[in-house]
């Protein structure tokens, strides 16, 4: 609860209930405040507790199913239900030795590893002139760069499918890479533009006044300023590409990638322990990656207090 808010409410109560003003004054010599009546205290407690319960229920709604999935991936039974039939890790062994699954995972990792650096480079190239240079058509260029974030992936996916067919380009993981770059680098542009817009250009101008060359300005002034945004972009681009289902589904051709593998496996059978196992593994890796990255960013930004960390988080993901 916000302390200032609480203070004002207590003052109100003090005015409204003078009969309880006889309560002992605070020991530290601050302004003596009346003790709020019981009803208000109960209500405030409920307010706070209610909010917490609400937040917990919400987080359980988001993460609960995945946690249960992880727990039951160790269950020695082919159905996902009670009673518990014993602990086993055999599903993990089976999942990791499934050749289709391994191929899909390998394809996905290759695609994301190519998409992430390409998106960061293209996105940064686009962000610099949009925020730092003045030229005709700047508004139009900015709109075009934002458009892939607004048009649904389904529409982009099917238009790409028709386009590649008409231009006689065979569908494979190569076409997946280029289409992932198309939808991912505008996100990088948004993140890096926001980061560039926050720093005014006087730093760059004074570097030029002090005799720095263009390259030196980029290397010693610009890059350090936008480094957190670049790191955030890289991680986001990687996970966007790895998790993308809609576009991959249409332009993947015969090369299966992980999300499409899960989808098509589930369409044919409803209950597959190896899907539980591999889903758990992938989720754990994803969480660990993002958490490590977050520690890196807050450490680099020198954020110590919780407030600073919150701001760093919001800045790097805005």
């Amino acid at each position: 609860m916000d302390p200032r808010l609480a203070g004002s409410e207590e003052e109100l109560v003090a005015e409204a209930a003078p009969q309880s003003a006889a309560a002992p004054a605070a020991r530290d010599g601050s302004v003596p405040l009346a003790r709020p009546p019981l009803g208000l205290r109960v209500r405030r407690g409920l307010d706070k507790g209610g909010g917490r319960v609400y937040a917990i229920v919400f987080i359980m709604l988001l993460y609960g199913p995945l946690v249960l999935l992880a727990v039951f991936s160790f269950n020695d039974s082919i159905v996902f239900s009670l009673p518990w039939s014993g602990f086993t890790t055999k599903w993990y062994g089976q999942a990791l030795s499934d050749s289709n699954l391994r191929q899909a995972l390998r394809n996905s990792l290759i695609v994301s590893s190519i998409v992430a650096p390409l998106s960061v480079v293209l996105g940064t190239l686009a962000a610099y002139p949009i925020t730092r240079l003045r030229f005709r058509m700047r508004g139009a260029a900015a709109m075009l760069l934002a458009a892939p974030l607004v048009v649904p992936w389904l529409v982009i996916g099917i238009s790409a499918l028709i386009y590649f067919n008409k231009t006689h380009v065979a569908l494979s993981w190569h076409t997946v890479v280029v289409m992932h770059v198309v939808v991912t680098f505008p996100l990088v542009t948004v993140l890096v533009s926001a980061s560039l817009a926050r720093f005014d250009r006087t730093q760059e101008e004074s570097a030029i006044d002090l005799g720095a060359s263009q390259l030196q300005v980029v290397r010693y002034v610009l890059l350090p300023l936008i480094a957190p945004a670049l790191m955030a972009s890289f991680i986001l681009a990687f996970s966007w590409s790895f998790n993308n289902f809609e576009i991959t589904y249409f332009v993947g051709g015969f090369d299966q990638l992980f999300p499409v593998w899960v989808y098509s496996t589930l369409r044919h059978a409803s209950n597959l322990p190896i899907v539980n196992a591999i889903s758990t593994l992938v989720s754990i890796v994803e969480v660990a990656l993002v958490y490590t990255f977050w520690i890196l960013i807050t450490w680099r930004a020198g954020a110590r207090t919780s407030r600073e960390k919150t701001e760093t988080l919001m800045e790097s993901f805005r």
Binding site: P65, L69, L82, V155, I158, I162, S270, S306, L313
Partner: protein, 298 residues
């Protein structure tokens, strides 16, 4: 920088001007080129495709409006469109009802829990959406954990059938998949509100309802607008969720497009339907924009 202009008598100035003029081009040529080649060109082909008629193996081709006419006259499409609007709108309303109080709690009341809660909200976006949908399917099924639990407590005698492959399951899973996108912009707009406004309102005798109605809602409206744009539009084109947890009553327009394209191979119909969806979405954006403007004037 590479030399871009020939060395003329006043070469230095001229060259500097040319460099300045060409600098945006040098930066933008590759990103804009990629978009023109792989985003704009496919969309143009999509528009052309939706007005084309092509018989099997392409023996007969021509211009036609049949793709659109079929979409408007066929009662099956009308039913699917109705279901889609019902499902997407219900999910959107559920998400706003969940996300608004949650954002308020995180922004003003959570204290030291603010950071962990935010982190959890951001983190969930990094998890694979297909895996998240699949996890719900495992819970909701006839032999799923929820039914097991209900039977075990004796609340129900027979497993509930309506938990999976119904509108309910699609709305539930859609809501939980997108609610973080809904909450983050609302939180950001609430965070920008000066808390002393609430104090002032309290001092002037406003109750919590008045505080929410007159301060919180108008000032958080831009965040709500962003949330609606960010979430409502993708809800219409989602086909993985209804594909995995939906049944015949929750077959959505996204599935129709996907099936027309992949299973049936009617590319003209698929292109026409997705073009219609795109137009409807532009309409929604404009509408949401004006609604927010109205609210701010008030």
């Amino acid at each position: 920088m590479v030399s871009l202009a020939p060395a003329a008598p006043q070469g230095r100035q001229l060259r500097a001007r040319a460099v300045k003029k060409l600098r945006p081009v040098a930066f933008l040529i590759s990103p804009i080129g990629v978009l023109l080649l792989l985003f704009v060109a496919p969309l143009i082909i999509l528009v052309i495709m939706s007005f084309r008629y092509e018989s099997l193996y392409g023996f007969q081709t021509g211009w036609t409006l049949d793709n659109f006419r079929l979409l408007f006259t066929d009662p099956i499409y009308r039913g699917v469109a109705k279901d889609t609007i019902i499902i997407a709108s219900t999910a959107m309303i559920c998400q706003l009802l969940i996300a608004f109080p949650l954002s308020y709690f995180i922004a003003f009341k959570a204290g030291r829990w603010e950071l962990p809660l935010l982190l959890l909200l951001v983190l969930v976006d990094e998890l694979n959406p297909i895996v998240r949908i699949y996890a719900w399917r495992m819970l909701l099924g006839r032999e799923g954990l929820i039914n097991d639990f209900l039977m075990w407590t004796g609340l129900v005698d027979a497993p509930l059938d309506w938990l999976l492959f119904t509108k309910f399951s699609v709305i539930l899973v859609l809501s939980t998949s997108w609610v973080n996108y809904c909450a983050i912009p609302i939180y950001a707009s609430m965070k920008a509100i000066n808390p002393s406004l609430f104090e002032a309102a309290t001092d002037l005798g406003a109750g919590w309802f008045t505080r929410w109605r007159r301060i919180l809602l108008p000032l958080a409206a831009p965040g709500v607008f962003v949330a609606v744009i960010l979430v409502y539009i993708p809800l219409f084109t989602d086909f993985a969720t209804p594909g995995l947890v939906g049944g015949t009553s929750s077959y959505m327009l996204g599935n129709t497009v996907a099936d027309l394209m992949v299973a049936i191979g009617d590319w003209g119909g698929g292109a026409a339907l997705s073009l219609l969806l795109l137009t409807a979405m532009a309409g929604i954006s404009v509408l949401a924009y004006f609604l927010t403007k109205l609210n701010q004037l008030d």
